[in-house]
Amino acid sequence: MQLDDIIYNPLLRGILGLCLMGAIFLGAMGAVWFERKLAGDIQQRLGPARAGPYGLLQLVADAIKLFTKEDIIPKNADRLLFISAPILMMGSVFLMLVAIPFGAIIIDGVTYPIAATDMDISILYIEAVSAISVIGIFMAAYSSNNKFSLLGAFRNFARMIGYEVPLGICIVSVAIMAGSLNIIEIAQAQSPLWFIIKQPLGFIVFFIAIMADMGRLPFDQNESEEELIAGWITEYTGMRFGLGFFAEYIHLILGSMLIVLLFLGGWNLPAALTANTILGIILPTAFYLGKVILVILTIIMIRWAVPRYRIDQVVDLSWKRLLPLALLNLGWVIALGLLGV
């Protein structure tokens, strides 16, 4: 009981949350570096190579640049909305962060997830707060008084309405199979068999939908630089731009975590491996984060290997392909449940 008291202490939980926030910022910087290096490899060039070993300091240089840049607010912009939009977006990803576990510690066969909260409806909560960022994007676009921004925001809404439905249905399928809406329990429920094996179709639909959710190419129509300059973020400079930029990369990491938690088995390992205390502390989290990195790698590689869909084609894809497939998967999951598999 002594251990439980420590683990469920609200103050310690708050400190843990702050640590996770710092960790995710570092993770996002790592993801940026990783993406640029990987893009360089894919395109047969070096990527960042000058600042520091392997260009690692490039991120520091970029951050300094963003902080010291002139902060321009367009004359005809709606100042209040313009200033608060990036904050809202960042807030949205931090609210998601609160419910997502970053790993787990297994001591004497009991699992203690590393998460700021442990709520019963966490997956619903994550879905709900992740949608807030769309409002942030629309606020940014509407307030900057720029036609390209506005077009980007329109696209964002059209896309969101398209992909949120199949995404939600996939999450429902997972929740039905796990018998819980708590993301930690969903992860635990995959102890012998991962959900990707039990519902492969659901995984594919979820993967595509979450890529659209993150706004990664081929689904980055809201800021397709070829036709819309930079879409909704066109008028932003300096750290305001940086916030929007970082929010996207944090979204990338959190989305990858969701994929691992919902379909790729989370941190579950055979009990024999985690019997030792030290191994129980290190292995589950390492296993989980390793899978997250693999998923991030896959998503980044997809980005650099394909062209971009047109917005009407994305909406077509969501409503005509993903939605029926998601419903089919839901039926499959229910059938499995009825058969008692």
């Binding site: 894919i42 047969q44 190419l217 081929p218 397709s224 036709e227 819309l228 062209p307 971009r308 917005i311």
Partner: protein, 374 residues
């Protein structure tokens, strides 16, 4: 285009400083939602007055000026200009010089097509493809550089001949580069024909019909993609194209996919032409015997007369109309470039497509604004 805007319509100006338009021209598009209701193309942002400049330069100085019409097709521009003067003065180019010209112009066509293709890929968000084409183009540029001494503005052709002979080992260099390039082009073709997103963005988009293309005077790959087999190298042969075996690449559909495919096929044909030339090239002088054209600064007075000479540039028909009054400078030069008519085909094609297709269609035309605004 009418400036009045209806309900739920807005006018978006893409360009002249839009990051992804192929050069500084402007597309004014009237949008309803994402759909383009009406559009117009505005040009003239980088007018250089090259026709007027040519009137004030001696014939030889003009060669460096026509390079600057469009840096991607510098060698074919020179060919059109030099060809005019040669017709006026009745200069016979020795066979070896003709072969060297064909080799260089075909190499230049390949590098222009490969860049146009890569640029197009980046317009639909496929940046990696752009990097690959840049990598492959770089080898070609080195080969061209080894002969002309310059990467883009060559000033390589002279009246009656060429500046320099091919360097030692040129044939091996070309063979090596072509070996890589052929593999790369095969890969691009597989990539293009197997990528469903690429096909969704190209097949049936921006379809130009043969009648419209002919009416507007469109030439080059955009015309051949509509099924019209028109190629000046075959229909009005200049240099030694008569002795060479090549086919005119056409496609039936006239859409974006067909235009890119025509460029891919033409690169293969150009490589075939260069290989033939390297096998057949005779030895001999670079300038007509007993003339002063090969000297550094020949005193040239061209006999009075008028002449029109056209060549097949990478982007289509490039023609020079030249009037000489018998002095050392042309009296008037009129340039007929291939891209101006191609740009005129844009507004009808853009009607009814979405914003994302503006740059896609404009990019597939492989426009060169520098040449439009000469």
């Amino acid at each position: 285009m009418e400036e009045t805007v209806g309900p739920s319509e807005m006018i978006v100006h893409l360009g002249p400083q839009h990051p992804m338009l192929p050069g500084p021209f402007r597309v004014n598009a009237k949008l309803r939602g994402e759909t383009i209701v009406d559009s117009e193309v505005e040009i003239g942002y980088i007018h250089k007055g090259i026709e007027k400049i040519l009137e004030n330069k001696t014939y030889l100085q003009g060669i460096t000026i026509v390079d600057r019409i469009c840096y991607l097709e510098a060698l074919t521009n020179e060919e059109a200009y030099v060809g005019c003067v040669e017709k006026l003065a009745g200069i016979e180019v020795p066979e070896r010089a003709q072969y060297i010209r064909v080799i260089m112009e075909e190499l230049s066509r390949i590098q222009s097509h490969i860049l146009g293709m890569g640029e197009y890929a980046s317009f639909i968000g496929f940046v990696s493809m752009f990097m690959y084409t840049i990598r492959d183009r770089e080898d070609l540029m080195s080969v061209i550089d080894s002969v002309t001494g310059a990467r883009i503005t060559h000033s390589f052709l002279r009246f009656g001949g060429v500046k320099d002979d091919l360097p030692d080992g040129f044939k091996d260099d070309v063979k090596y580069v072509f070996g890589n390039l052929k593999k790369a082009i095969d890969q691009y073709e597989v990539l293009f024909s197997s990528d469903s997103i690429y096909k969704a963005r190209t097949v049936g988009i921006g379809t130009l019909t043969a009648d419209v293309a002919k009416d507007l005077g469109v030439s080059g790959p955009p015309l051949r993609a509509t099924g019209v087999a028109f190629d000046i190298r075959r229909d009005e042969p200049y240099l030694v194209y008569n002795d060479l075996d090549f086919k005119v690449c056409t496609q039936k559909d006239g859409d974006v996919y067909a235009r890119i495919q025509v460029r891919l096929d033409e690169m293969r044909e150009s490589m075939y032409i260069v290989e033939q030339c390297l096998d057949q090239i005779p030895s001999g002088p670079l300038f007509p015997e007993g003339t002063a054209y090969g000297k550094r600064s020949p005193v040239m007075r061209i006999p009075a007369g008028e002449v029109f000479h056209r060549v097949e540039a990478p982007r289509g028909e490039m023609g020079f109309y030249m009037i000489s009054d018998g002095s050392d400078k042309p009296y008037r030069v009129k340039i007929r470039g291939p891209v101006y008519p191609t740009l005129q085909a844009l507004p009808p094609l853009l009607k009814g497509v979405t914003v994302a297709d503006i740059v896609a269609i404009a990019g597939s035309m492989d426009t060169c604004t520098s040449e439009v605004d000469r």
